[in-house]
């Protein structure tokens, strides 16, 4: 396949620059003495250096410059400086010539310092600036969010860092708690960071949350590499378990699983959805492997005797860059790049002026890290106003969920009491972060619940006691009443009887008395009558006598 003459190879000059810098380091005399192995490496010039030197001859100028006849010290130093500059310029020009080869596909053999990883700029053009990022330590993977001006990095520490490259500020720094990590991918769709961990998890991060937004178990071994397609819908992951899986990120579900003969070390998805897989010395390309289950690869490329570490598509070109242990290769993959670019978005033919102007415009349009969300269409939409009742319900729901998950409440006891940790704890006592807050809330909730229960139980027992007391009291009262009634009845009966008897005896007595009295009265009467009669008789007799 012959490409047009205008086609030029463009890769990030960073790699070459860093190569040079290491070279300079090795040339230091101190190291020279200490490590003879390195010295040998320098003595035996690499192929690249040889090539560079031969090319440099073409660009050499000021050959007549020499300090031989210059007497003044000042002038001599000036001449020396000029020589240095001309050397540097020649080297630069030679280096550029080496890179700007006419052919598109190429192999750059850089055996000494492999393996190489690759990344291309947004419009596929070259150009880079160098910062010294002291805070990014032991970095294994990096990515750049061009709209947010954020550089993300993750490494052996397992700390995800977001650094604003326009201001130099560390915007966010989160511990993943998953250990070392070297699989990092950015979704172009929403700028969410996808991290692949050694326990097979893939976590989704935004700079606005100290916890991962999503955690999904993707592999049965460490995750090797992640790639996300342009639409942000599909994610490809590969793991040490020998699997490559295609995921639907909208549903967080696996779509297809592929078996790779050796674990795939690197993945990339092109603008038109072609999937590149680097495994061992092979780079395989799959055409319709994402939306459908593909049966066989579209292309396969072998770089024998090497180990592929990175595959990366060039935007707007049909080119795949392969970084491997022996250098960098660039191969043509027909049908991978987007043929129709948008000048205002990313222009592969941009001029120097356009580029510098774009730099300013993109800085003016810099997005805030707060704008990174899972759903980018939410921006520019007004949030629904929640009623207080709704807010309360939501809080309740959160609390109940928190209460249900036992693992969160569990206190880790092991290794708690080292002196350093105790001191740290003391220091952090006043700091309340999100996790602390959630445990605090949970604790308060639990306390409240137990209190409520206790109060309830107390109330119930109290009620029962009162009830029992009441019942016994009622019974006692009833019994008392009954006995009282009985007693009263008996008393009454005896009384009645007594009264009756009394009455009867009284009546009898009265009767007897009456009778005796009547008798007596009668007797008296009789006696009286008799007496009176007698008296009368006497009287009459007396009278008669008198009369007589």
């Amino acid at each position: 396949m012959e490409s047009s003459t205008s086609k030029t190879l463009q890769i990030n000059l960073d790699k070459v620059k860093s190569y040079d810098m290491t070279k300079k380091k090795n040339l230091r005399p101190k190291k020279f003495k200490k490590t003879p192995a390195v010295a040998n490496a320098v003595e035996e010039k690499s192929e690249y250096e040889k090539q560079l030197e031969s090319k440099m001859l073409k660009y050499q100028r000021n050959e007549n410059l020499s300090t031989k006849n210059v007497k003044s010290k000042n002038e001599r130093s000036l001449v020396n400086k000029n020589i240095e500059i001309s050397q540097m310029l020649a080297k630069k020009a030679a280096r550029a010539e080496i890179l700007k080869t006419e052919q598109t596909g190429f192999d750059l053999t850089l055996k000494d310092f492999g393996p190489y990883s690759i990344n291309y700029s947004r419009n596929g053009k070259s150009g880079a600036e160098v910062h010294c990022l002291r805070k990014m330590i032991e970095t294994q993977a990096m990515d750049f969010l061009p709209f947010h001006y954020l550089l993300t990095s993750i490494g052996n520490q397992g700390i995800l860092r977001y650094q604003d490259t326009s201001t130099g500020q560390i915007v966010a720094e989160y511990k993943t708690h998953f250990g070392p990590c070297k699989a990092l991918a950015t979704s172009e769709y929403n700028s969410i960071q996808h991290l692949g961990h050694t326990n097979g998890n893939v976590t989704l991060w935004s700079p606005n949350s100290s916890e991962p937004l999503v955690k999904m178990l993707c592999h049965k071994g460490p995750v090797n590499s992640i790639a996300i397609d342009k639409s942000g819908t599909y994610m490809a992951t590969s793991g040490l378990d020998g699997q490559m899986r295609i995921w639907d990120i909208r549903k967080y579900q696996v779509l297809h699983s592929y078996h790779t003969f050796t674990p795939a070390t690197s993945l990339d998805i092109s603008q038109l959805g072609m999937l590149a897989v680097g495994h061992g010395p092979h780079a395989t390309l799959w055409k319709d492997a994402i939306k459908t289950k593909a049966q066989s690869p579209y292309l396969s490329h072998l770089i024998s005797g090497s180990d592929i570490t990175a595959v990366s598509f060039v935007p707007y070109e049909d080119i795949l860059g392969i970084g491997h242990s022996t250098g960098i290769s660039s191969i043509i993959v027909p049908g991978s790049g987007e043929p129709n670019f948008d000048t205002y978005e990313a222009n592969p033919f941009e001029t120097k002026k356009q580029r510098s102007e774009k730099e300013i415009h993109s800085l003016l349009d810099k997005l805030q890290p707060e704008m990174i969300t899972l759903d980018p269409s939410l921006i520019g939409v007004l949030a629904d106003q929640k009623t207080p009742a709704q807010i309360l319900a939501e809080k309740k729901e959160v609390l109940t969920i928190a209460l249900k998950s036992k693992t969160d409440i569990k206190n880790k006891k092991r290794g708690k009491n080292s002196a350093a940790k105790r001191m740290l704890r003391k220091k952090q006592k006043n700091v309340i972060d999100a996790t602390k807050l959630s445990t605090l809330i949970k604790k308060v909730y639990v306390d409240k619940q137990t209190l409520i229960k206790k109060v309830y139980v107390d109330k119930q027992t109290l009620i029962k006691k009162v009830y029992v007391d009441k019942q016994t009291l009622i019974k006692k009262v009833y019994v008392d009443k009954q006995t009282l009634i009985k007693k009263v009845y008996v008393d009454k009966q005896t009384l009645i009887k007594k009264v009756y008897v009394d009455k009867q005896t009284l009546i009898k007595k009265v009767y007897v008395d009456k009778q005796t009295l009547i008798k007596k009265v009668y007797v008296d009467k009789q006696t009286l009558i008799k007496k009176v009669y007698v008296d009368k008789q006497i009287l009459t007799k007396h009278i008669l006598i008198k009369l007589d």
């Binding site: 205008s6 049908g335 205002y344 978005e345």
Partner: protein, 454 residues
């Protein structure tokens, strides 16, 4: 097998010569424009901030008048000309581009110059009326002459008409040689006759303003101190309609694009827009002033209005909206009695009690002068994006915030308290009266007491 790969020739995408324009290729596939919404929003916010940063509406003040300015007129044929009349009887004609007077009559009238109008078919002639019962027709091109009374040469009017009463306003017919004046009656004059040809009246109170429709040319509107707005037809010399408002109307302006629409400036701090075909309610109420509105003028596009108020501010309204788009004030500007849109609708002129005419930009952040195509397209894009997200709280806050003088802020606050209290009281009464006995009257009909039409 034929395999195609991307192969671009730079000749297709790079301009050949320096003078050529850059070649542009577009692809509107949303996948190629990730996070478009967030980027647009950021641009909208930037655009809103830039708009407020560049909002410097005041251009300059035209000084010269000794007394306050109570009448002004613009020339429909000459963009540059502005006529002004002050309280001491002086009339000046200004060149707005030079910000200088080029025609001046010191004692045009004995007392207040109450009205000015241009004659549409001649650039140089204009009419002034005053409290001294005279109507004077002036020609700018006429050279000054020295009179018997004073040796200093002065302009003299081309024609002087004598009326019976002090005049309050004047307006010229768009097509014929007619003009209308108002005092206690409306008089229609022919320029070539010394006496009015028709007198129109309905009621007996003083008429404050008269405005002839410039499109439907035989219709004229008047407003009087008896709180009336009356429409007359010149063809039949009879009134068409009458509206009685709760408070008097200070000024009237006809919409230049829609002949049947006119707006009024009212004493009750509001402006009302009427459709002359249906006068029982107004079509729009424009609120925001905290004192009587003294003058109102449509922009030549008919889309915006400028108002002058007794509260020492000028406001620019969107003709279809209820609240002002912008408010202009300066520390030294006193009660504003007249405000006019210039004929290119890019500037606003105001005349105030302090004797200064002030020139403002109609769009506070716009700048005059030639713009490159790139600048124009960039400005267009920015305004479009800004409008798209103007409902967002962050952007709205930037766009709406205005620093007003303390007394106006205070007046606003007290006015709000008073209106709220009135509203509350009405609601309370409604709550305790028979349902349906107190219907809610729409704001647009509230201040209209009665209306009749023929």
């Amino acid at each position: 097998m034929k395999i195609k790969t991307i192969s671009r020739s730079s000749a297709d995408f790079v301009k050949e010569r320096i003078s050529d324009i850059e070649k542009i290729q577009r692809n509107f596939d949303p996948l190629l424009h990730p996070q478009e919404k967030a980027r647009e929003y950021t641009r909208a916010l930037r655009s809103a901030k830039l708009e407020r940063m560049f909002a410097k509406p005041f251009i300059g003040s035209l000084t010269g008048h000794i007394d306050g300015i109570y009448s002004m007129s613009k020339n429909p044929l000459k963009l540059d000309y502005l006529h002004s009349g002050s309280g001491d009887g002086e009339v000046r004609v200004w060149s707005l581009s030079n910000q200088k007077t080029f025609f001046r009559v010191e004692n045009a009238h004995n007392g207040l110059v109450s009205g000015l109008t241009c004659i549409p078919d001649s650039v140089n002639k204009f009419i002034s009326v005053g409290n001294d019962k005279f109507v004077k027709l002036w020609d700018i091109e006429q050279s000054p002459v020295s009179t018997e009374e004073s040796s200093i040469s002065q302009h003299i009017p081309v024609v002087t008409y004598t009326g019976k009463e002090a005049f309050n306003g004047v307006d010229h017919h768009r097509q014929n040689d007619l003009f209308a004046t108002c005092s206690s009656i409306v008089s229609i004059w022919d320029i070539n006759r010394s006496e009015p040809i028709t007198n129109l009246s309905w009621g007996s109170d003083t008429i404050r303003t008269v405005k002839l429709n410039q499109t439907e040319v035989n219709i004229l509107a008047t407003s009087g101190t008896d709180r009336n707005i009356i429409l007359y037809d010149l063809r039949s010399s009879s009134p068409i309609a009458k509206v009685v408002m709760t408070l008097a109307t200070n000024a009237i302006t006809w919409n230049p694009m829609e002949a049947y629409i006119f707006s009024t400036a009212n004493e009750d701090h509001n402006c009302y827009t009427f459709d002359m075909r249906k006068m029982d309610h107004s079509t729009n109420v424009m609120k925001d002033h905290v004192s009587a509105v003294m003058d109102i003028d449509y922009s030549p596009t008919g889309a915006e209005l400028v108002t002058a108020s007794y509260d020492r501010t000028i406001r620019v309204f969107d003709a279809k909206k209820g609240h002002s788009r912008d408010v202009y004030h300066t520390k030294r500007m006193q009660r504003v009695f007249v405000a006019k849109y210039t004929m290119d609708s890019k500037y606003v002129v105001s005349g105030s009690d302090d004797g200064n005419i002030r020139l403002w930009r109609a769009e506070a952040s716009s700048r005059a002068g030639a713009k490159s195509n790139r600048e124009v397209s960039s400005l267009n894009y920015m305004s479009k994006v800004k409008n798209k997200y103007s409902h967002m709280p962050e952007i709205r806050k930037v766009l709406k915030q205005r620093n007003l003088p303390k007394d106006i802020t205070k007046a606003n606050r007290t006015k709000k308290i008073m209106l709220d209290a009135r509203k509350q009281k009405e609601e309370n009464i409604r709550k305790h009266s028979k349902p349906g006995s107190m219907p809610r009257i729409p704001e647009r009909a509230k201040s209209i007491v009665a209306s009749t039409s023929k």
